[in-house]
Symmetry: C2
């Protein structure tokens, strides 16, 4: 299969193959995406995140269907935790509704969070580019919203939907609070549960500290019963229009590109550091001395950095 022609001719197998190649950091995939990069930038990218159990998958599916009613095509990237034993993603497609799969205007892909060097973000951002080149009108990136993944999602998305839910415990509340700042649009899902109004008020109170021009709207929804989806959809579109009319969309994309470039540089430097047998041996020997308290890690790091950086200007 000619992947370059395939992706330009809207062949979903080519898209799937390129994403798989990005997952294994295949240079050929990077070469193809680089070459076709001028085809990107047309899709609107929406990040969907929130605490575990908030019902993000169901809500994503309903929003995708809402977009299909407008005849828009949708690519969905679902980022799942990776099993250390099987190496595959755990939730996989198990919890997703199946009827979207047979819709030719929809593409769904689960990606694992494999790779401790932050493989998530390079592969995920690569997948977004693949779906953008393919020509999807909207791309959803859905993550279990805890930890570094929220930060990563911000790097890729034009607009971030934060999905909250009433009545979770302290830890969850804390996680929730830790990601509040990245939400452009908020949903309180499972709003037929007790405490939905209180959750909405809590979110709105936290957002009072936010002094930007855009006031993130908070919508109560019951994704499972398709309640409130129209309102939420309207708010997402409103935010995207706001970004475009104020010129903030290109600004945001520039910031995202900056974060991506920094991430790529960091990753490349690390690969040079730990991917090289000889260097790895030097570090191991130093580590042995650190473990034996003959050296301290700060001094070791300082000395190695000085050796790596010969030219501090670029």
């Amino acid at each position: 299969m000619n992947l370059e022609k395939g992706i330009l001719n809207k062949d979903k197998r080519a898209a799937a193959r390129l994403i798989t190649m990005m997952e294994s950091n295949d240079p050929e995939a990077i070469r193809i995406i680089s070459k076709l990069y001028s085809h990107t930038g047309k899709a609107k990218v929406i990040g969907i995140t929130g605490p575990p159990g908030a019902g993000k998958s169901t809500l994503t599916d309903k929003l995708a269907k809402r977009l299909r009613q407008e005849n828009k095509t949708v690519g969905i990237i679902a980022v799942d935790p990776t099993s250390p034993f099987t190496g595959g993603s755990i939730l996989g497609d198990r919890v997703r509704m199946t009827d979207l799969y047979t819709d030719p205007g929809v593409f769904i892909r689960s990606m694992g969070t494999r790779g401790h060097l932050g493989g998530l973000s390079k592969a995920t951002l690569g997948a977004v580019k693949v779906l953008d080149i393919y020509g999807f009108d909207y791309i959803f990136i859905e993550t279990v919203g805890v930890g570094q993944s929220e930060v990563d999602i911000v790097k890729a998305a034009d607009s971030v939907l934060l999905v909250m839910v009433p009545g979770l415990g302290d830890d969850i509340q804390a996680i929730k609070a830790g990601i509040m700042e990245i939400g452009d649009v908020f949903a309180v899902n499972k709003a037929d549960r007790e405490g939905a109004n209180r959750t909405q008020v809590e979110i709105e109170m936290m957002l009072e500290y936010n002094h930007s021009q855009w006031k993130p709207p908070v919508t109560q929804v019951v994704a499972l019963h398709n309640k409130g989806i129209d309102d939420l959809y309207d708010n997402i579109i409103k935010h995207l229009n706001y970004l475009e009319t104020t010129g903030q969309l290109i600004e945001k994309r520039q910031q995202n590109s900056e974060l991506e470039i920094i991430d790529l540089i960091q990753r490349d430097l690390m690969e040079r550091l730990v991917g090289n047998e000889e260097k790895r041996t030097t570090i191991s020997e130093m580590a042995r001395m650190v473990a034996n308290r003959q050296l301290d890690p700060y001094t070791v790091s300082d000395n190695l950095v000085k050796k790596i950086i010969a030219n501090d200007n670029f």
Copy 2:
């Protein structure tokens, strides 16, 4: 206050001050820890993690009390998500039992997860060293166990206690599975709830894929009612003894030091990259061209890395 003398004389204020300085990446704290690094290595470091809502804080407190019965001193570092609005840690000490605070043999410190460059791990590992220099027999690092923090905890701990809980949703199960491999000892907390036996069996089934010599024991506990704590304590001590008698403790610490050195180098390189105004401007300009699809991020990154790395051998 002379911090160097203070920490060697078991002054808790000196410990607290040094940890605060590590949180703000103060070079003076690093200088002091480097200088006193030969005093580290005596404490046993135990990582405690698990999904949100598993009752980690309560369990940590009970284990600390159990160690106090043996006349051992305990330092506790509780890593909480940071509020983007207040900048402070959210859970803070709010949910912790108070009577440990008045125990002179116990030190409790909450640390936020601030810093997108992974400030967590440098500050947390620094805090562990501070408490080790101080002379605590045991150091607990407790984290809300989701995302990168589990990986970071492994970098610092001799032994990792994974706290599970019966009857959580799909997302939680997935997160749980994503961190299974890092557990040396398992607790099923809130074991008076329905499904505790099933959870135990599930964990044991997953552990069958683990072919290392040490078989992680799974203990049912009800931390709130102090049930099962003795058994869990015995299993933790058993694992620490196992590490020592097999020579794996020093091996593990060497691996941890290696990860720490790599993390420090990575952090230093990134600070040079994004902390320098001129370089940051270069990257911004490139990012603008990427956002306008004149350049692709992969080519930009490649070119910048070549300029940074002048000497590829060390």
